[in-house]
């Protein structure tokens, strides 16, 4: 369980990092905390020629508020998010979810950008971005563009990134008209959930993003519409059929669907209480 030989690069600017990424033409991987990548390399599942450590890129750090949007630098660690007053005040959903994300040791190194770029279907952060209607700011050699979270996650470990680095996350500031809920079902605290959901409610509209249930974090528009109509929960839950639930050793797709329904029901109950 030792990683194969690789080059370790530590650029001091975003431009330098992008140049290195281009130079290695797909054979280099950005290192943004390494809480998933390093174990994958030690298992020799991932074997990049080079790691480009983003730790020194000041452009990827900092949390600011401007014009109703919180901008979170991609290299912000979970531990920093947890203790940040801006995030606590303006994005309460992230505050609700963070204690469920792994453990202190992982949260001290893991970054928000790293998690989104990996796009692990069981991770909490992609679902939070979907529920919050966040935008992902990505920068390539030629341009910076904004990708809506809804368009960012394309499949298991698959994103819309194209030779680019995530530079920041843009999340709308929570309004008094909004309420939030988060619930995940794990046998052990800090594990990947068997099923979980993050919900942002704005007036009578809902954005409900499920995670740990399919090949990516997933919203179901018909289910959200049913919530808006205030359909009976039994009816709401039937729209879960539209998710292609995962089968694995911990739970088959039937159990997962059931647990997703429990997570949704319990989250909504908590929000109305």
């Amino acid at each position: 369980m030792k990683a194969p030989d690789f080059d370790y690069l530590r650029p001091s600017s975003l431009d330098a990092a992008l140049a290195m990424l281009a130079e290695h033409d797909g054979e280099a991987m950005p290192l943004a905390g390494g809480q998933s990548l390093m174990p994958m390399m030690n298992f020799r599942v991932a074997a990049p020629e080079a790691l480009i450590d983003l730790a020194d890129l000041t452009e990827l750090r900092g949390i600011t508020v401007d014009a109703g949007t919180v901008r979170i630098g991609a290299m912000t660690r979970y531990a920093e998010l947890m203790s940040d007053a801006t995030v606590q005040a303006h994005i309460p959903l992230i505050g609700m979810a963070l204690p469920h994300i792994a453990h202190d040791a992982v949260r001290n190194r893991g970054t928000i950008g790293g998690s989104l770029a990996l796009a692990d279907p069981a991770a909490e952060m992609p679902a939070l971005m979907l529920a919050l209607d966040a935008s992902i700011e990505v920068t390539g050699p030629d341009a910076t563009r904004m990708i809506k979270a809804d368009d960012f996650f394309l499949g298991m470990f698959e994103t819309a990134l194209d030779g680019e680095l995530i530079t920041a996350i843009h999340v709308p500031v929570a309004t008094p008209a909004q309420r939030f809920g988060f619930h995940e079902l794990t046998q052990r605290h800090g594990d990947y959930a068997l099923a979980g959901v993050a919900i942002a409610q704005t007036d009578d509209s809902y954005r409900a993003a499920f995670f740990g249930v399919a090949d990516r974090a997933t919203r179901v528009p018909e289910l959200e519409a049913a919530l808006k109509r205030q359909d009976d929960m039994k009816v709401v839950l039937t729209y879960l059929d539209q998710i292609d639930f995962t089968d694995d050793l911990k739970a088959n797709h039937t159990t997962r669907q059931r647990l997703a329904g429990v997570a949704l029901t319990r989250t909504l109950k908590g929000m109305t209480a």
Binding site: K2, F43, R44, R188, H189, D191, K250, T255, V262
Partner: protein, 793 residues
């Protein structure tokens, strides 16, 4: 010999006191010396190419590219090492009929489990060795695998060792009374269940590892070894590498947990020793976590069909069961893989008065990792069968499970006696333990809470287990069957010139506090301050000869040897003191580092006595030749084992929407005889309970139908973690064993052996309003939802 009252009742005696362990500060400051901390000049590193298949013929091995890879020193195949290592077979003569095939350190022609070592690469670093492993090209012809133990004996299942004609490794029947007649008697209710116990493993914090150093000038092999039986390993290295026994030194410094995992013959470790001998330089092998999962011995994996008969008034008339267990492709050497099944046959129902008993055990080969003795060997299965059926029967006849136990447990004043299976029992306290348990847990209060909570749709359950625990094994356990495993242990105490004690013992420390209790016994019985005792364990060159620490034998056997040696040294010192002080020995004692009169008044500091002996012997009479060093050995006689007993209870809440189980509280009352250090015993029991909860709710080695281990990572194999663990309340009853002066019995198996049955019973108690019950461990959310759905149909 001074009697027990004299030793234990005087002030400043340490035995029974919650003394903090002396080595805790060292370990917490990162100054532990685990195998991977050892670094020797010219040391090189081993990595292994392991079989990716559960069963495959090895057609060819091409190592050409790997040999030229950076840093590679040597590459060995099974055939290469077979020239230097004799094969070994995991059978013992007292396990009649047990068969197994010869094993080589690296597979020869056929690979028989996924993870079996095939090729060894030695390189200047572990990373470079792994790089070279990727360049080794092994051509396999994959064979159909025998994976499922239930079909292992079927005619169309591949036979792993064709010379045996079937995959049966061992079978045994135990019959007492007439079970058929007992079950058929009028008024007898019979409950019947099929239990399934998942395969799990030990998951030690420090993985297996060894550093082998060979010095050709003296033909000397020194092995730094993370393990619990140094003298056993000395014999094994000597025998199979062709070295004189005295030329093998096995050193186990700090060991980061073992639980029975590190007490066997692993091919990768033997290969490491062989490579060190061939290369004439130190070779280190540290198993990584993946290697640990696929090669450390696994445990459990039993399917049991069981029945219990009970009268309407609640008298158990008998137990009848059939246990089938899969052990992998070989019986592990040298302890064998039949012991767990044998324990199940011996221990099931042992706390209860019962005349009729019929048990069949079958042990089968399969293409999975080898199974062998993990903490609480056989106990969780035996306890779950008897106490699971007992609580099922209690529900059937409408009797409280505590009342039903009261009715059937052996009376505390009825010993010595034998169990239905013929086990000799003495000094047990089942009824007192159960009464104390219901007291400390407030049983009636919990039942009231249960009733109230159900009204709100909250399903809580209370489950019990009454158990026996095999500890302090005699020569009847292994020695009688021809295993090179010492059943006795020794202790040496030496009084130094400064008045301190240097003591050594053949039992071993693997994190549970062995060294601490040895010091307490030595200091207390001899009479010096605890901080003036230095302890050495885990080195075949410097300790007395003995078995090590396993089967809860350390305190009971090693502790007794220390007590006897301390007493002997005390007698020697008092003889010298008597001469020096011109006083009768019977008027002297040793307390707080000085020879005293019987009232405790100091007469002569030990340092003065020792200096006189060592430096100024001219002051002593010529016919007095003081030794100031004493060694004693101890083994259990008259009994094959010394049984410990206990009673435990679990309080759980089952979320019927998700199938999640939360353990709210756990209680254990243990009678391990004399408690030497309550802090350490309590933590042993707590740690054991946690491992038992792991077996009950979380831990399982999942295999695909073709024998691939599917969850061999710490992310996918779930061990219990601190956040989910309940408070665990411990209480003691002390019924010292009459087999020793110390009176200590083992306590290491208790939690792991008992907790699964208590949790199972608690979950089934919680599920009972829905008419559901579960008999498979681990009790995962999905399995609980499945039985709830079935009950709702």
């Amino acid at each position: 010999m001074t009697g027990p009252a004299h030793i234990f009742d005087k002030p400043n005696r340490y035995i029974g006191k919650p003394e903090p362990r002396a080595d805790a500060a060292r370990l917490l400051q990162g100054r532990g010396r685990f195998v991977d901390d050892e670094k020797l000049p010219r040391m090189v590193h081993a990595a292994f190419v392991r079989s990716p298949h559960a069963h495959a013929k090895i057609l060819s091995i091409d190592t050409e590219d790997a040999r030229t890879s950076t840093g590679v020193i040597a590459i060995y195949t099974g055939a290469d090492l077979a020239e230097h290592v004799t094969p070994y077979v995991g059978t013992l003569t007292h396990m009649a009929g047990l068969r197994s095939a010869p094993q080589h350190p690296l597979a020869m022609d056929v690979a028989r489990w996924q993870g079996e070592p095939i090729v060894m690469v030695v390189a200047t670093s572990r990373a470079l060795a792994e790089d070279a492993c990727e360049l080794v090209d092994v051509d396999y012809d994959e064979l159909p695998a025998a994976v499922d133990s239930e079909t292992a004996l079927d005619a169309d299942t591949p036979v792993i060792h064709p010379e045996f004609g079937s995959n049966l490794a061992w079978e045994r029947d135990v019959i007492a009374g007439d079970i058929d007649a007992a079950f058929a008697a009028p008024g007898v209710h019979v409950v019947e269940r099929e239990f399934r116990f998942g395969r799990h493993t030990g998951v030690t914090l420090e993985s297996r590892g060894t550093l082998c150093d060979y010095d050709p000038s003296e033909d000397q092999l020194t092995v730094y070894y993370s393990g619990q039986a140094p003298h056993m390993m000395q014999v094994i290295f000597s025998k199979h590498l062709g070295l004189p026994e005295e030329n093998v030194r096995v050193i186990s410094n700090d060991v980061g947990g073992s639980f029975g995992i590190k007490i066997h013959t692993y091919g990768d470790e033997i290969a490491t020793a062989a490579a060190a001998k061939l290369l004439r330089r130190p070779v280190k092998f540290i198993a990584d976590r993946f290697e640990s999962f696929v090669t450390d011995i696994h445990a459990r994996d039993h399917i049991v069909k069981a029945k219990m008969g009970i009268t309407g008034a609640g008298t158990i008339v008998g137990i009848d069961f059939d246990d089938l267990t899969g052990i992998g492709p070989f019986s592990m050497y040298p302890r064998t893989s039949a012991i767990e099944c044998n324990q199940v046959l011996n221990l099931t129902g042992a706390p209860y008065v019962m005349e009729n008993y019929r048990a069949k055990g079958r042990v089968v080969f399969q293409n999975k990792t080898l199974m062998c003795q993990y903490r609480a060997v056989g106990h969780p299965i035996a306890m779950a069968i008897a106490d699971g059926l007992l609580e099922d029967a209690a529900r059937k006849i409408g009797m409280d499970p505590v009342a039903l136990r009261e009715l059937n447990l052996m009376a505390d004043d009825s010993y010595p006696r034998t169990s239905a299976t013929g086990m000799k029992l003495d000094d047990l306290s089942h009824k007192r333990a159960l009464r104390k348990l219901t007291e400390i847990m407030d049983y009636q209060g919990l039942r009231a809470d249960q009733t109230e909570a159900r009204k709100d749709g909250i399903y809580r359950g209370i489950g019990f287990v009454s158990m026996v625990e095999v500890t302090n094994p005699s020569p009847m356990f292994y020695g009688i069957g021809g295993a090179p495993i010492a059943s006795q242990d020794g202790a040496t105490l030496r009084l130094d010139a400064g008045g301190a004690l240097h003591v050594s013992s053949s039992i071993t420390e693997q994190g549970q506090g062995t060294n601490a209790i040895l010091a307490q016994v030595a200091a207390g019985v001899f009479g010096v301050d605890l901080n003036r005792v230095k302890v050495t364990t885990g080195d075949t060159a410097t300790t007395p000869y003995g078995g090590g620490t396993w089967a809860s034998r350390g305190a009971g056997i090693g502790g007794e040897a220390m007590l006897l040696a301390a007493q002997a040294l005390k007698d020697q010192v008092l003889e010298v003191a008597g001469v020096m002080l011109q006083t009768g020995v019977e008027k002297l004692d040793i307390r707080d580092g000085a020879v005293t009169d019987l009232e405790g008044n100091e007469r002569l500091p030990l340092a003065d006595l020792a200096r006189t002996v060592y430096y100024r012997g001219n002051e002593l009479p010529n016919d007095l030749n003081p030794e100031l060093i004493a060694t004693r050995h101890y083994r259990v006689t008259d009994f094959p084992f010394v049984f410990t007993n206990g009673a435990m209870a679990a309080h759980v809440e089952v979320d019927t929407a998700t199938g999640f189980v939360k353990v709210l509280h756990f209680w254990a009352v243990e009678d391990c005889g004399r408690v030497i250090n309550p802090l350490l015993v309590d933590e042993q029991i707590r740690g054991g309970v946690v491992q038992g909860i792991g077996g009950a709710l979380y831990e399982e080695c999942h295999y695909s139908p073709d024998g691939q281990f599917m969850n061999a990572t710490m992310a996918d194999y779930m061990v219990p973690m601190a956040s989910e663990m309940p408070d665990i309340t411990i209480a003691h009853i002390e019924t010292p064993t009459k087999t020793s002066v110390l009176g200590a019995k083992g306590a290491g198996e208790a939690g792991t052996g008992g907790a699964p049955a208590a949790i199972l019973n608690a979950v089934n108690d919680a599920l009972s309003p829905m008419g559901a019950s579960i008999w498979q461990m681990p009790m995962t959310p999905e399995r609980i939802l499945t039985v709830l759905d079935k009950a709702a149909e």
